[in-house]
């Protein structure tokens, strides 16, 4: 998948985008006579609008509910928008002594950033010799790493947990960061990009007597900033959204934000005003990031294929 998408990216992904597609596109038939183009497109456009509104509905409903008093969330008839919008729910949960939202947010931010950074550094250091150096056992080791991608995650759950107990890492950031770091995915991805850099580029530097680390940092890394950023974003999101593992290895104040909002939900089981305020706090930073960087999110996804957790 990775390679195919990379190839797609190299040529314009959307041929004739926003141009006159009818010249070459499938709609060449019926171009000469018949209704104007906008009329042909109208049903499709309307379908898309309806679907888009349906997709946005749960998010609208989350924000809307979070701004209502608890009585208003279940009021009959339903309030399609908050009649008396209030930030009371947000204040209640942020001031609640047993719901340290800022601490949870920090836990998520710190562990996800450390995980993303660590993944990128490890992937670069490992992919570099595997793609651009010659040494005994290179291909074998690459195969070993690659094969580990095949192993279903469930195999690691119990042994990792018992290891965390033995390391005394339960309820620490270590448990959130280290076990996932050696996953093959990052190595695999970075190697694809290392391979795509022409070899001649480093020859000159080598003749000047640069060592391998200088070549990596000064010559190769500038070519790899975009893939590194994509990998970092992807790993950050994967760690931020991770659910099963943090659910069991960190508790109380040490929980990550997405996990914490569900344990928090067991306290406010049907107090949906507060639940939706908590959900909004946990998701709005990510939604805003997506708004500004959606190109990179989508590119990262098509670059990586569907990565199963």
């Amino acid at each position: 998948m990775i390679v195919r998408s990379t190839v797609n990216r190299a040529r314009p992904t959307i041929p004739f985008a926003d141009g006159d597609a009818a010249d070459t596109g499938p709609s060449v038939v019926g171009r000469r006579a018949g209704p104007p183009r906008w009329l042909l497109l109208a049903p499709r456009f309307l379908t898309l609008v309806v679907l888009a509104l349906l997709f946005l509905l749960p998010i609208y409903w989350m924000v809307s509910t979070s701004l209502k008093s608890e009585a208003a969330t279940v009021a009959q008839p339903v309030q399609w928008w908050p009649h008396e919008p209030t930030l009371e729910n947000y204040r209640t949960i942020l001031e609640s002594p047993n719901a340290p939202f800022l601490r949870w947010a920090w836990n998520s931010l710190f562990s996800s950033s450390a995980f993303a950074l660590g993944s990128v550094v490890l992937a670069v250091l490992t992919a570099y010799p595997l793609s651009r150096m010659r040494f005994r056992g290179r291909d074998t080791w690459f195969w070993v790493i690659l094969s580990s991608m095949m192993i279903p995650g469930v195999i690691f759950l119990i042994p990792h947990y018992l290891m965390m107990i033995r390391f005394d890492w339960i309820d620490t950031y270590h448990a959130l960061i280290w076990p996932g770091l050696p996953a093959a995915f990052g190595v695999f991805l970075m190697r694809q990009f290392f391979v795509s850099i022409p070899r001649e580029i480093e020859e000159a530097a080598r003749l000047d007597g640069a060592n391998s680390l200088q070549i990596l940092v000064r010559i190769l890394l500038p070519f790899l900033t975009a893939p590194m950023a994509t990998l970092a974003l992807f790993q950050f999101m994967a760690s931020w959204n991770n659910y099963v593992w943090p659910l069991f290895v960190v508790h109380g104040d040490m929980q990550t934000l997405p996990v914490a909002i569900t344990s928090f939900s067991s306290r406010y089981w049907t107090a949906y005003g507060k639940l939706m305020a908590g959900t909004a706090i946990a998701s709005i930073p990510i939604l805003i990031a997506f708004l500004f960087a959606q190109r990179y999110f989508i590119r990262g996804m098509s670059l990586t294929g569907l990565k199963d957790e």
Binding site: R4, A52, L247
Partner: protein, 312 residues
């Protein structure tokens, strides 16, 4: 593999990468973590499953295949719940995978040709995929809440439909989970299909247009066959993802009612972290992992095929 460089010549190391040990030095940090967190746990997990792991004891008693035998012996609670939750998970997979493939293809086709606001639509359909499963779960639990949820409010307003307690009804509780999952993950496959559609050479369509092929014929004989590799890839990855169902059930229904939406992953974690039967849970993980391996094996071969094709 690695066709871009000549094979190393034994016995004569070239200086470009410095002393012979340099490459190994780069590999070392990852290799250490790889051994500790990937290689070792595989063996350790098997070892745990063959012993009766007692978290408080220093010495663990060897029990052989006992915990595996329980999983194939009718009558034991582990047998009952493991296969019941396995069945639940399979049902979820059957319900969700076709929907996730065809609705993704539908969205990608709607967005195939340029249309006003195309990138906005694409971003909107993709947007839910960036949310955490807990966020998605709480949203859809609220949407489907008995009586006060938006879905039930709408059912009340629309003629000929009436409110229905989805969350607490055996069978129907899958609807919030499946609908939520489609909303949450359809964007992945849509992007995959979008890239694949854009890569289909236009000349095929031009030739078909000259032959007078209609829209359906063009889809049936050009688009669909051209999409075959992506469909296979999406099918395999979505199946793997669906089999690992956990968060959606955990948040939306907590596995209820009567464990009917409890997934096998949920049961394994219950056995380990609620019942503290780590060895039993490890045995289930191994068995479930082996079943998943059959599917990931296909995925692995597909990835390798791509790799072989793409690398010069």
């Amino acid at each position: 593999m690695a066709t871009e460089t000549a094979r190393p010549k034994r016995g004569r190391h070239r200086s470009p990468s410095g002393p012979a040990w340099v490459p190994y030095l780069y590999l070392l940090p990852h290799a250490v973590l790889f051994l500790v967190f990937i290689v070792y746990p595989i063996g350790f997990g098997l070892w745990v499953s063959l012993h009766r792991w007692n978290i408080l004891s220093d010495v663990q008693r060897f029990v052989g295949l006992d915990f595996y035998l329980r999983l194939v012996t009718p009558g034991s609670p582990q047998f009952t719940f493991f296969w019941k939750t396995m069945g639940n998970t399979a049902l979820f997979t059957v319900l969700s995978v076709p929907a996730l493939i065809f609705s993704a293809l539908g969205l990608a086709l709607l967005l195939e040709k340029p249309i006003a606001g195309r990138s906005v639509f694409r971003a909107i359909f993709f947007l839910p995929t960036i949310l955490a499963v807990s966020v998605m779960g709480l949203l859809w639990r609220w949407m489907f809440e008995n009586r006060t949820g938006l879905v039930n409010i709408l059912l009340d307003l629309v003629p000929f439909t009436q409110q229905f307690p989805f969350l607490t009804n055996v069978g129907w509780a899958w609807i919030p989970i499946v609908v939520g999952t489609i909303w949450w993950t359809v964007g992945f496959n849509m992007i995959l299909y979008g890239a694949a559609l854009a890569a289909i050479p236009r000349v095929y369509y031009e030739a078909a247009a000259i032959d007078g092929a209609g829209a359906w014929a063009r889809f049936r004989h050009i688009t669909w066959p051209q999409l075959n590799p992506v469909t296979l890839f999406a099918l395999v990855t979505t199946t793997i993802g669906s089999f690992q169902l956990f968060g959606q059930s955990h948040v939306i229904t907590a596995g209820g009612p009567l464990r009917t939406t409890q997934s096998v992953m949920m049961y394994i974690t219950e056995e380990a972290f609620t019942n503290f039967q780590f060895s039993s849970a490890a045995a289930m993980s191994v068995l479930f992992g082996l079943l998943l391996l059959l599917v990931t094996g296909v995925q692995f071969r597909l990835t390798l095929r791509d790799l072989g094709r793409g690398v010069r």
